[in-house]
């Protein structure tokens, strides 16, 4: 850990995620511009914005699925560098749910859930299975445990994906458009799962277009456009009294269709 990172950690013990002047380029395309963001323990952040605004890229930087080229990202007191041990430590503590679920199709639901705890955390199988079943019950699909992902509906698969992440007992959960690939009827069951997770006090960052979810769950809503954070505010303020012109335009377009 660099001296700077240590300083940053000591300054803000309660911050789970800190992004300081983060910049990222895809080749020459400047996708993240000077992102500064702090997420406190137990805070629930919703990130919205037009497509191509860099919101997915930003949360994917937090568990190093994407690499940032400038600035600091400090997760749970550990700075993300190219040090593989740091990356693996952080990934253990950060769960992620993807737009396309990304369950492992060659393993059953239960095997999907126990795989990482058994291989990464070295939890004994019996214990891992008990934990997995308790999470599958929380997402309300314990009876599908022996099935393969291909036999489940999209909504069920996404709930399994959430359970799979929770089995690692993460301190932070990242959601990358978790309901965008779902049929309208299935969105609710996934959102309900996420709401109950939020109620349990999990630190969450969620990229989504579900404004209803943002209103009910978020502590803070962040609006991004063209690689920068345009506005960040509590949901009530954000929706009723947006400060930036760009935010006003965005909200008028998504709320009035």
């Amino acid at each position: 850990m660099t001296a700077e990172a240590q300083l940053a950690t000591s300054k803000s013990e309660d911050k789970m995620i800190r992004l300081v002047g983060v910049n990222k380029w895809y080749d020459k395309f400047h996708v993240l511009k000077d992102i500064n963001l702090e997420v406190a323990k137990g805070e629930r952040i919703v990130v919205c914005g037009p497509s191509g605004s860099g919101k997915s890229t930003m949360i994917r930087c937090i568990n190093r699925l994407e690499e940032h080229q400038k600035g600091q990202i400090i997760v749970d007191g550990i700075e993300l560098t190219s040090d593989l041990r740091n990356i693996e430590t952080i990934r253990k503590e950060v769960g992620m749910v993807f737009q396309h679920f990304n369950l492992f199709p060659h393993l059953t639901v239960l095997e999907n859930c126990v795989l990482a705890p058994m291989w990464v955390r070295k939890t004994p199988r019996k214990e891992a299975e008990a934990t997995a079943m308790s999470y599958l019950e929380k997402v309300k699909i314990p009876d599908q445990a022996k099935k393969y992902p291909g036999q489940l509906s999209g909504g069920q698969q996404q709930r399994v994906a959430i359970a799979r992440s929770l089995c690692m007992n993460p301190r932070i959960m990242l959601f990358d458009e978790p309901t965008s690939a779902l049929d309208p009827e299935m969105i609710k069951e996934v959102l309900d799962t996420m709401i109950s997770l939020a109620e349990s006090g999990m630190t969450m960052m969620c990229v989504t277009h579900e404004m209803g979810f943002a209103k009910t769950v978020a502590d803070r809503v962040i609006f991004m456009d063209r690689g920068q954070i345009v506005e960040s505010n509590a949901p009530h303020e954000f929706f009723n009294n947006p400060q930036n012109e760009r935010t006003q335009l965005f909200l008028s377009q998504i709320l009035n269709h």
Partner: protein
């Protein structure tokens, strides 16, 4: 007022659309083209099949001592029966062939349980077959330990040698091919990637016959005086390296078919490189390329016949060598038919096994 729904009764299909007559009409005589093709096919079968069956079975000679027993005009299977030991065991000492039998019997007994689904310790059994068994089999073949009479590799031959070359080639080339494929994918390690590409492209660029020839003729020239390592071993190494290059490309095809999301999900769970590939990517990738892998195995099985170029006599080599025997003139057809039959049986079995494996590993829809 709403209408009441009354389902219509189920009726049997019309008589002219089911049954053997309907099948014949729709499949063999559906139009003038189909009908004429059917007639031509029947004519060809009728003219070639009876004489073939007659030669192969009906007027063939099955028992006897020498060429004199073959006087009925059909196939002389007496030749094959008489040379059976040579075809199967090569020049392996007659009183020691039980060792070869034991090796194959053990392989059969060991692999049989793998075909049953629920069996504890299958993984250990598989590991034993892959890593320990070959060692035991090798010691048993070569002798010189446990009071077994040593048998030098120059005496190994016939179908035993075919299976040995193909078996070692397949088992050793698969892990090597997987590593090469992974290396070729490692874009963040340019040196490793470059070496793997170089290796694969080199070995794919040369014919196997050249590889064998080089290993047996050229290699000794570069070795210091007195160093002489076994001809069979050199052929085996050549075949394995050659095969691994092909295997690498087959496996790479499978790796490319795995969606990026699978890699990301494994990364996000913190699995790390080897677990990501070992637990998530390779099981799926190898399943996709089972047909390609078995295709390579079958090709190798038949390519083993090329070792005749370096003086190793596998099944076909033994058959060819036996054809020169003045005591057995004019039996080349029987010899080649027998060799073809043996190869076909084994290749066909491999093909069926791969189909069975694909069905067994199918877990519903992708993703």
């Amino acid at each position: 007022m709403s209408q009441h729904f009354v389902p219509l009764p189920d009726l049997p299909p019309p008589g002219n659309s089911v049954g053997p007559v309907a099948w014949l009409r729709s499949n063999l005589f559906s139009g003038w083209l189909n009908t004429s093709l059917t007639v031509v096919a029947i004519y060809i079968l009728a003219t070639t099949l009876p004489p073939l069956i007659n030669w192969l079975f009906i007027s063939a000679d099955w028992v006897g001592e020498g060429k004199e027993a073959c006087d009925s005009g059909g196939a002389c299977w007496v030749f094959v029966a008489n040379r059976w030991d040579i075809f199967i065991y090569g020049f392996y000492p007659k009183d020691q062939t039980w060792r070869v039998d034991l090796i194959f019997a053990a392989l059969f007994v060991l692999t049989a349980p793998l075909f049953f689904k629920q069996l504890p310790g299958k993984l250990y059994l598989g590991g034993f077959i892959l890593f320990i068994y070959p060692l035991i089999a090798f010691l048993l073949m070569r002798g010189g330990v446990f009071g077994l009479e040593p048998v030098e590799t120059a005496k190994w031959g016939g179908f035993t040698l075919t299976l040995l070359l193909a078996g070692v080639g397949c088992i050793a080339a698969l892990p090597l091919g997987v590593l090469l494929a992974l290396g070729r994918q490692a874009t963040n390690m340019p040196v490793v990637k470059g070496m793997c590409v170089l290796f694969i492209e080199f070995w794919r660029g040369v014919p196997l016959i050249t590889v064998l020839f080089m290993s047996s003729v050229m290699l000794p020239l570069f070795l210091p005086e007195g160093v002489n390592f076994d001809k069979l071993l050199r052929a085996l190494i050549g075949i394995t390296l050659f095969q691994s290059a092909y295997m690498a490309e087959v496996v790479r095809g499978g790796l490319q078919a795995i969606p990026k999301g699978q890699y990301e999900a494994a990364d996000a769970l913190g699995l790390g490189y080897w677990r990501k590939y070992g637990l998530i990517v390779l099981p799926q990738a190898l399943k996709i390329v089972i047909p390609g892998i078995v295709n390579t195995f079958i090709a190798l099985f038949k390519d083993t016949t090329l070792v005749i170029i370096v003086g190793l006599l596998e099944l076909l080599g033994m058959v060819k060598a036996s054809l020169g025997d003045p005591a057995w003139p004019d039996v080349s057809r029987e010899g080649y038919v027998f060799a073809a039959f043996m190869f076909w049986i084994f290749c066909f079995a491999m093909s069926r096994y791969s189909q069975w494996l694909e069905r067994k590993l199918h877990t519903g829809h992708k993703r």
